[in-house]
Amino acid sequence: MTDSSTIKAVVQKITTELKDKPGALLPILHGIQDTLGYIPAESVQDIAKALNLSRAEVHGVISFYHYFRDTPPGNHTIHLCRAESCQSMGSKHLEKHVKAKLGINYHETTANGQFSLEPVYCLGNCACSPAMQIDKELYGHMTDESFDEIINELGVSA
């Protein structure tokens, strides 16, 4: 967890910079999540104040979008594709392996804080299914073995 004074400073800097854009809320939320890794609940009040919105409106937007999160992620976020094209190439089997290997389900983080697992509905890599993304890196033609290899390369195996 990030400490309160850092959160306040980050939120203030980003809201000041972006609040005058038309439709500023999503760019602001992206800015905060890019910097802190998540959008802390305690930042909602400051965002709302900067944009002259209610806290409920800001919370409503954060909770509507799958990508925004209000808890810190692991060091790496794995987005595993669940959509049709990947299913046609065995992603359901891969999904079982990934969950077993990491010992977590979707929307969870490994106990050592190394990996978070999120489902995603299409990465646009459908010609190379099954696909996944770790942080901003895209991977195609995934197998159980290639998943293990990538995870091991990223450091501590979970």
Binding site: H30, S85, G124, K136, G140
Partner: protein, 516 residues
């Protein structure tokens, strides 16, 4: 003489190791003292060959693929830099049948050029459409687009010229052009390929749209799942501003157009145009009631053109070569070309741009080479997660909006996902309901609640419980979704569900004779 080698920067190619191949080539050339330049092009769209390496020769570009970093040293030993033989050699890229049989208009440059080189873009006929448009009246630009017969490539197939005409004729001090780049359908990647492989064509198309209707601000609403496209678009937009192709006084014409990329946040429903506008305004992506049409009251209540990436990227060629040129491709009321995307369980996956009229069978077997696993193709889903599953008996349907509609199927954004006979279609129908439940914006009851009830009914059917009752219930529920939903998410989820049930009843535990 310096040698030019091409290795795609397309994210799918990168997902298979293209960055490592490019680095290995640069290093090997340096070690061998060879004067060589690696250009990062877009993908040619032959993904089973990625990473596809090309080398410029007197005869044309020679292809090698799929190349692994470990192959690079061997390729140098064989003299690939002179286009010589190697076990990965494929011959001249543009003579490869998969590529040669296509009619590439919108994708004319993708894979040929460096996406970030404005000079490359201009050398390959880029910005000719804009120059023509700058010399035309607004009505004439709209007329050229109307005459081309271009229809919305996002899926709804609404005539682009008519949409533009409405915005042109709605007076307002501020109008907007929105590019819908929320390409969320599984099995589709043509928008991504254009944005990563030829971003200037999209920028040019949006600029022309702005001139045509009198809009000075454009937004590209891009899905967060496309970080490579985000970087490439932003770099291309910065170049376009520097060279006066964007901004105030474009090419000293006195006209202005500004463009910004905005990121979505993982909501499929934001691909629906009114939900997208809510999102751009900084709100929850709740679908709006229509009317009013976005063309009359759209973003921030102003007249707004909302077009898909491919629609907008098809505009420059229309303005360059004329509406007639584009209209001469295609069949019936489906004019021009459609960039199809072959995905899933297919031997040769990739991008196939052809005039409308090709049959599914030609696409799946002549281009696609059948399933990747070698098993019989059981069904294909065309048009994303809201598209119907199509059985083998309908593979002779021509790819044409009306022919597809006549079969109660949709062409949508042209994505084709292939499934072999190991897939259970009842499981796929359950997934369709689950996907609708996850992605529903929640505004209308049929979609919000119907999708969850649909998932439960599908669970019962899969467990073989009281089929006579549950299949009737599923059909009734689909009827409610189909007729009572506010947008296509709830309204079209019955397409995959009912097509799976109608064509593959045995997967639902009933025989073809006892259609319930």
């Amino acid at each position: 003489m310096s040698i030019t080698v091409y290795v795609p920067c397309d994210s799918s190619a990168v997902s298979l190791g293209a960055d490592r191949v490019a680095a290995a080539i640069t290093l090997e050339a340096k070690n061998r003292g060879i004067d060589l330049e690696v250009i990062r092009n877009g993908s040619r769209g032959m993904y089973w060959l990625e990473p596809l390496l090309e080398v410029e020769t007197a005869e044309g570009r020679v292809a090698y693929g799929p190349v692994k970093p470990d192959d690079v040293s061997d390729l140098f030993d064989s003299g690939f830099i002179y286009g010589r033989k190697h076990s990965l050699a494929l011959g001249l890229t543009e003579e490869l049948p998969f590529f040669k049989k296509q009619q590439r208009l919108t994708f004319a440059r993708v894979g040929k050029t460096n996406p970030l080189s404005l000079a490359d873009y201009i050398a390959q006929s880029g910005y000719r459409g804009l120059k023509n448009a700058l010399a035309m009246t607004q009505a004439d630009i709209v007329k050229a687009v109307t005459d081309s017969g271009l229809r919305g490539r996002g899926g709804a197939a609404f005539p682009t010229g008519i949409k533009w005409n409405t915005v042109l004729n709605t007076s307002s001090t501020q109008k907007y052009i929105i590019c819908n780049a929320d390409e969320g359908d599984s099995g589709t990647f043509s928008d991504r390929m254009i944005m990563e492989g030829d971003p200037f064509v999209l920028i040019e198309g949006m600029t022309i749209a702005g001139l045509a209707v009198g809009a000075t601000q454009g937004y590209i609403y891009l899905r967060i799942e496309y970080p490579h496209a985000f970087d490439i678009l932003n770099a291309a937009i910065a170049t376009a501003y520097e060279q006066a192709y964007l901004g105030e006084n474009i090419l000293e014409s006195g006209k202005s157009f500004h463009l910004e990329v905005r990121l979505g946040a993982g909501a499929y429903v934001c691909g629906e145009e009114t939900s997208l506008m809510e999102s751009l305004e900084g709100k929850r992506g709740l679908v709006r009631f229509k009317p009013p049409l976005p063309a009359i009251s759209g973003l921030f209540g102003q007249p707004t053109v909302v077009n898909n990436v491919i629609s907008l990227a098809s505009v420059p060629v229309i303005l360059d070569k004329g509406g007639d040129y584009y209209r001469d491709f295609g069949m019936g009321r489906s004019r021009g070309t459609l960039p199809l995307q072959l995905a899933g369980n297919i031997k040769y996956p990739g991008l196939v741009e052809c005039g409308f009229g090709l049959t599914l069978r030609e696409l799946l077997y002549d281009f696609g080479g059948g399933s990747k696993t070698g098993r019989p193709i059981k069904a294909v889903q065309v048009g994303g997660p809201l598209g119907a599953f199509i059985p083998e008996s309908q593979f002779d349907t021509p790819l044409d909006y009306e022919a597809f509609a006549a079969n109660w199927t949709v062409l949508g954004h042209g994505g084709v996902v292939v499934f072999d006979d190991s897939m259970n279609m009842a499981e796929m129908a359950r997934y369709s309901m689950e996907f609708c439940a996850i992605e529903s914006c929640g505004k209308c009851t049929p979609c919000r609640i119907g999708s969850t009830r649909g998932m439960e009914v599908m669970d019962d059917i899969i467990n073989g419980e009281d089929l006579n009752k549950n299949i009737v219930l599923l059909r009734s529920l689909c009827d409610t979704l189909l007729n009572g939903s506010l947008c296509a998410l709830g309204g079209m989820t019955p397409y995959p569900v009912l097509s799976a049930l109608n064509h593959f009843p045995e997967d639902f535990g009933i025989s073809a004779e006892e259609t319930i």
